[in-house]
Symmetry: C2
Subunit: 133 residues, 2 copies
């Protein structure tokens, strides 16, 4: 029960892209260096973000990644789901019907966390961070 490193990398990447000059293309190498992770591994994570429609990529020389138009609305939860999937944190094999109280409690607990993360937009965090500089 831990967030994966992949999620960590995705959050940092998104935040970095949100702070950098808009529409500027950033290569995977530069992103990987900052986070001390191998470019090939980070590449896979970035591809997930592309498929989730959060960033777009440009191949070829001077290519790289940048945020998509709707990026202001992207939340922490969006990023986490893009990497970790949408499955529930709690699952049981013997499914005794939908009115199981244990499941209800566990699912509700997860939703408490998700409700908060859904309201944390990277755009707002980026604003706060640039204000500090």
């Amino acid at each position: 029960m831990k967030f994966s490193k992949a999620t960590n990398y995705a959050l940092h990447t998104m935040l970095f892209l949100a702070v950098v000059p808009p529409n500027k293309l950033i290569g995977v190498q530069q992103l990987a260096e900052r986070q001390e992770v191998s470019p090939t591994y980070l590449s896979k994570i970035l591809t997930k973000l592309v498929k989730a429609g959060m960033i777009e990529s440009t191949s070829g020389a001077n290519g790289g990644y940048r945020l998509k138009r709707n990026w202001e609305e992207i939340s922490f939860l969006d990023i986490i789901h893009a990497i970790e999937g949408n499955a529930s944190l709690f699952e049981c094999d013997l499914n005794h019907g939908q009115d199981c109280m244990i499941q209800k409690i566990m699912v509700t607990a997860e939703e408490k966390m998700e409700d908060y993360l859904r309201n944390q937009k990277i755009s707002e965090l980026a604003k706060k961070m640039t204000a500090v500089l």
Copy 2:
């Protein structure tokens, strides 16, 4: 990022012990059968609960497990922490100081979930379940 099966087993066991006649000793075999898990594995989980002070065990013939005196106060969160540990769900290698906004958001999110789970006592859930019978 998922709750382990061990946590699942622990929750079910605690709830079962809360529904059963008080002070009655239940052996690991009976607990394991209900949950379709091997007794040997469940045994290790139960030992964790014993060490966490939530249940007590009696060796020898007719031995088994039962809840401890303060069991009415035990919450879902207590059980989860007993099994999964107390470490934060989000951790980064490069620790850039305690005022990192990413960490703050992730830790706060986790606390939202924990706040809810802390208020879900197994005693109250047991009450509701016996009311249904």
